[in-house]
């Protein structure tokens, strides 16, 4: 297989075991390595470089020279050293054992990597635990590609299936009995091919599906600002642009922890090591509110921190997408989170620059836009080859340099995504978290999600969303005026609009990632909190219209509604109306 883990399969003779001598290294400049071309080398094939067997991938073949991007430190590679083409593209080893694990950009388990990650860190091969397998078919049955031959129990709630690989299928000649098997074991023979628990797939090739479908069912992220205003449908795509200090990573971690997906693939791409350590230990400790298991049991973490080799950062995005598709093909709903795609784009730029490619905007290669588009295109809601429904939702952070939203990565990304959750520096500065800007964000899924909510027990969803959005826009418009002329110069109804903006911001949108009761919020409770604020605002308007002085209304105690998000449990929607009624009765009836 073309995986770079020290798989015995990787060293089978391959094309280099033939009669011709191994190609030699010609040039080394950081991650760029050129070798001789001695045939039998295809684009994107893996090559092991030098005596240290540094893995690299073929990125161009020109005349007699092969250009390779190396995935590890190339120090000490000398012109004349041998290069060994493996004859296969970079692939990921896909198995149920990925769940709960932490991997580098090439999907090598970091638990085997030792304290420091240098050349040859992944030399050893750990003993793999066996896993309980239960067959789902019997010998003699005829099954097609993507069908399940059985199920493997994982450490957590995820029911992992062993699937007939794409392109295979036929009569089940043999299937293993229920029992515990190591991950590499073949558990069935279908149409003349063995089906193993662990499969391998080239990371740059999307896994095939039967068809793509529209699924209006929303992903419940547990974050009110998103679920209420800018929802994303399962299989959708989201860009999260935000300058440093706007809380991007915290927001993505919240989604990783609390969204109602079956599997989370979290790709830390060129980000902070301490943060990565934090998120890994959080996943291990936190309980999944829906299953009671550990969050880690439904999570695959790909960690390529900013000081790890740059080109593995480039691969990590594709590796993550491949893992997400693998679980999707079992009929699961997967969320792929990439933090940050800007660091991935920088790796593309770095390498393009070393190969001397003509730069387009800001030094990025001309292919940047299509690379970004291709990545987000791996999202989608599908009918799998096996005929079940599954989805991959892609959420990518973008780190615009200097907060400049016109820079190439941000500008191209927002063309290809269905939602944008922009993080606003002013909101973060005012300690309004999550700092999702209502003016700068959009969701193209809002209409279909609204229709779906209407059909599934929340008929008021779309109206609630537009009323809240209207209140925020109105309050924003008036805020500038208030700064100039003071609040007392405004007419009474407009003063209520200013008050309403504050109630929505503080009572609904703000949500503390640190709060045990409010770190996530069920859909019902989100609706209840928004409805409570809307009812209070309605009452305030009626009071003022009936002649109650606006100052009296402004000075009323809105505390119970503002504190409702802290005083009720994350899924406790039923307690909210009570708090609303306390405020309403404090306000009194209109005259």
């Amino acid at each position: 297989m073309g995986t770079v883990s020290p798989d015995p399969g990787a060293s089978r003779s391959g094309p280099c075991g033939g009669d011709f001598p191994l190609p030699r290294i010609l040039r080394v400049a950081g991650p760029l390595v050129e070798t001789e071309h001695r045939g039998a080398t295809a684009m994107n094939d893996l090559v092991l470089l030098g005596r240290a067997a540094v893995p690299g991938e073929v990125v161009s073949v020109r005349n007699d020279v092969v250009t390779i991007q190396a995935y590890e430190y190339t120090g000490g590679l000398v012109p004349g050293d041998p290069a060994r083409p493996l004859g296969e593209p970079l692939s990921a080893r896909l198995g149920p054992g990925l769940l709960g694990g932490v991997f580098d950009g090439l999907l090598r388990p970091l638990s085997e990597g030792g304290e420091r990650l240098g050349a040859g860190s992944f030399g050893g091969r750990s003993a793999e635990r066996g896993r309980p397998f239960t067959p789902a078919v019997s010998a003699g049955a005829r099954i097609g590609e993507g069908a399940a031959v059985g199920e493997v129990r994982t450490g957590g709630p995820v029911r992992a299936q062993v699937l007939v690989p794409p392109g295979r299928g036929g009569v089940v000649e043999w299937v293993a009995k229920e029992g515990v098997y190591a991950q590499d074991t073949a558990v069935a023979r279908v149409g003349g091919h063995e089906v193993r628990i662990t499969d391998s797939w080239p990371v740059r090739r999307p896994r095939p599906v039967r068809e793509r479908v529209d699924d209006p069912e929303p992903l419940n992220t547990g974050q009110r600002a998103i679920d209420l205003l800018f929802p994303v449908a399962r299989g959708g795509t989201v860009a999260v642009p935000g300058g440093f200090g706007t809380g991007k990573t915290v927001l993505l971690q919240q989604i990783a922890k609390w969204s109602d997906a079956d599997v989370i693939v979290y790709v830390g791409c060129g980000e902070r090591g301490n943060e990565m350590a934090d998120v890994i230990s959080d996943f291990a400790e936190l309980e999944d509110p829906r299953t009671g298991g550990r969050l880690a049991d439904r999570t695959v973490t790909v960690a390529n921190t900013s000081n790890m080799p740059m080109m593995a950062r480039e691969a990590s995005i594709h590796t993550g997408a491949t893992v997400a598709e693998y679980f999707r093909d079992m009929g699961l709903h997967v969320v792929l989170i990439a933090d940050s795609t800007s660091r991935w784009a920088e790796a593309l730029r770095e390498f393009a620059s070393r190969t001397g490619a003509l730069p387009a905007e800001e030094g990025y290669p001309a292919g940047l836009a299509s690379e970004i588009a291709a990545f987000y295109e791996r999202a989608g809601s599908v009918i799998t080859l096996g005929g079940t429904r599954g989805s991959v939702t892609v959420i990518g952070a973008v780190s615009p340099p200097g907060g400049d939203m016109t820079e190439p990565v941000t500008a191209h990304t927002e063309r290809f995504v269905r939602c944008r959750w922009s993080l606003d520096r002013d909101l973060a500065y005012a300690r309004h978290y999550p700092a999702i800007s209502w003016a700068g964000s959009f969701s193209r899924d809002a209409v279909s999600v609204g229709a779906h909510r209407r059909a599934s027990g929340d008929p008021a969803w779309a109206e609630r969303r537009s009323r809240i959005a209207l209140l925020l826009a109105e309050a924003d418009r008036l805020a500038d005026l208030v700064d100039l002329v003071g609040i007392t110069a405004l007419p009474a109804q407009e003063r209520i609009s200013v008050l309403a903006g504050r109630l929505v911001r503080e009572g609904v949108l703000q949500q503390s990632a640190l709060s045990p009761r409010d770190a996530h919020c069920g859909a019902d409770r989100t609706a209840a909190l928004a409805d409570a604020v809307l009812a209070v605002v309605e009452r305030c308007r009626a009071l003022v219209a009936s002649g109650v002085p606006v100052e009296t209304v402004e000075e009323a105690d809105f505390g119970p509604v503002l504190r409702a998000r802290e005083q009720t449990g994350p899924l406790d929607a039923a307690a909210v109306p009570e708090l609303r009624d306390v405020v309403l009765s404090g306000l009194g009836e209109p005259r």
């Binding site: 040039r27 080394v28 400049a29 050129e34 190339t74 120090g75 000490g76 590679l77 000398v78 012109p79 004349g80 932490v102 970091l110 638990s111 990597g113 304290e115 420091r116 990650l117 240098g118 440093f244 200090g245 060129g270 902070r272 090591g273 301490n274 943060e275 990565m276 350590a277 890994i280 230990s281 960690a303 921190t305 900013s306 000081n307 790890m308 080799p309 740059m310 660091r343 920088e346 730029r349 770095e350 620059s353 730069p359 800001e362 030094g363 780190s399 340099p401 200097g402 907060g403 400049d404 500065y429 005012a430 300690r431 700064d483 100039l484 003071g486 609040i487 200013v498 504050r502 640190l514």
Partner: protein, 473 residues
């Protein structure tokens, strides 16, 4: 670098000299990133790093620059490995130049082991999340942007602001709760008076054997600066993770460092990104800053405090911007506060320590630390709004409560932030001052502090209930 074993062969076919770069022809057996030694006819020796090997050509970046070099007569030897330096406690108390050669009149630094200056990435699984404070003795920093062991927290400054004084003060005063503590101070592009100031300010720490000082001055070779922080971090990693010390690495000025990087990149003809800095500036800075941290199962920590000047006070400039994306917060210095004569001129509202929550509070600093800090910042934000309003409508038009905020702001700067440059402030003193400043506000304005604390401190009730403006209006 005495421990480097040089190859037997010396190569003499130097084809090209340009800026800090040399191209050597007819070379074999030399790998990328090797350390090189160039011998001039006069016997003078310079050093370099291999930037590229292409068949029998080798591109060498010369640390001491190519000034006065004649391609004829040069002899180039290679080490067969990347640059290694000796590591160990022998560095403590020493003063060296930016390449690690002593300038204190002492012998070369020896160590019990050698380590490559580039470092090796730490496996994220082996990182221990930071959780204990480094107390700097600078009140505004300790209270509002607590530095945590294993954190990277930069100081963003501008020309004319006393960032070097602040850095030196932090380096001189910092402690880690009585555990072994050392400072590695890497100065890059410092002027001679600045270098002298740093030596002077850190004299006591140096005499106590708790300081490693690396000084690259403005007239030293520019390219040498690329090495200075790497040597500092390599020495620090060993002192921390082998020696079990808590090590604070101060690196100043990172803007000078980034300029050296840009210079080499331009000479190599690389495609420039923002403001002509190379596209890999982020990764290069990360390869430095990310060397901070703690390791599971090992004592010690490396805390990194990079100091940088924002050209034209522009926080979107690539150096502060990319630094901010990598580091865990920032301490921003303010021109306005400096103009008021307050030292250190920390802009508390723009400053942030992302790890503070982990390093401060009960059992770490003091039980009331986090709510006090949160309340100070919230009140300060309000005070700033009031200040803007006062500029528009005049102070007389403000409500009584708002005027209270102006007084709070004044007390905050004078009584809390302002601190003599050579005086350490204990945390107890810092937090007591914080309370004193907070209690200038009436109780109704201190909503982030729990009632028990307010009762214990005797917070006063509102003088007059009326006239309180709607907050957030």
């Amino acid at each position: 670098m005495s421990a480097t074993v040089w190859g037997d062969i010396e190569f003499t076919a130097v084809r090209e000299l340009r800026g800090p770069l040399a191209v050597v022809d007819g070379v074999s057996g030399v790998g990328w990133d090797e350390f090189a030694r160039i011998t001039l006819p006069s016997g003078e020796r310079r050093h370099g790093l291999v930037l590229e090997v292409d068949r029998d050509l080798v591109l060498v970046q010369i640390l001491e620059d190519t000034w006065g070099m004649d391609p004829d007569g040069l002899r180039v030897a290679f080490a067969g490995e990347p640059l290694h330096i000796p590591v160990g406690s022998g560095w403590l108390g020493r003063v060296c130049n930016g390449r690690g050669d002593p300038i204190d009149g002492g012998p070369p630094v020896f160590g019990r082991a050698r380590a490559p200056v580039g470092g090796t990435p730490l496996n994220p699984l082996h990182r221990q999340p930071p959780s204990e404070p480094v107390l700097t003795g600078v009140g505004a920093v300790d209270a509002l942007t607590t530095l945590v062991r294993g954190q990277k927290l930069p100081v963003f400054s501008a020309a004319g602001l006393p960032h070097l004084e602040l850095a030196a003060q932090i380096a001189a005063q910092s402690t880690a709760g009585g555990e072994a503590f050392s400072v590695v101070f890497a100065g890059m592009g410092l002027t001679h008076p600045e270098a002298a100031f740093v030596r002077d300010a850190l004299d006591e720490r140096s005499a106590a054997g708790e300081l490693v000082l690396l000084l690259n001055t403005a007239d030293d070779p520019v390219i040498e600066r690329l090495l200075t922080p790497r040597i500092a971090l390599t020495v620090a990693e060993d002192l921390a993770f082998t020696g079990g010390r808590h090590v604070l690495v101060v690196m100043t000025d990172m803007t000078s460092y980034a300029e050296a990087l840009r210079e080499v990149s331009a000479e190599r003809g690389e495609i420039p990104a923002r403001r002509a800095y190379p596209g890999y500036l982020y990764s290069d800075l990360a390869s430095l800053y990310e060397r901070c941290g703690r390791i599971r199962g090992r004592p010690g920590s490396v805390t990194v405090l990079p100091v940088l000047t924002m050209p034209a006070y522009d926080i979107t400039h690539p150096v502060p911007d990319l630094t901010g994306y990598i580091t865990e917060g920032q301490i921003v210095l303010s021109r306005r506060t400096h103009a008021l004569g307050v030292h250190p001129p920390v802009d508390a509202l723009s400053s942030l320590s992302r790890l503070m929550r982990r390093g401060a509070g009960p059992g770490r600093t003091r039980a009331d630390h986090l709510p006090v800090a949160a309340q100070l910042l919230a009140s300060l934000a309000r005070a700033r709004q009031v200040r803007e309003l006062a500029d528009l409508v005049g102070e007389d038009a403000l409500s009584q409560a708002d005027r209270g905020y102006l007084a709070f702001d004044e007390a905050f700067l004078r009584d809390f932030v302002d601190q003599p440059r050579d005086r350490m402030r204990r945390l107890e003193d810092t937090l007591e001052r914080a309370w004193r400043v907070l209690l200038t506000l009436p109780r109704s304005q201190l909503t982030m502090l729990p009632d028990e604390l307010l009762d214990a401190r005797g917070a006063r009730e509102d003088p007059a209930a009326g006239g309180v403006r709607e907050a957030g209006g």
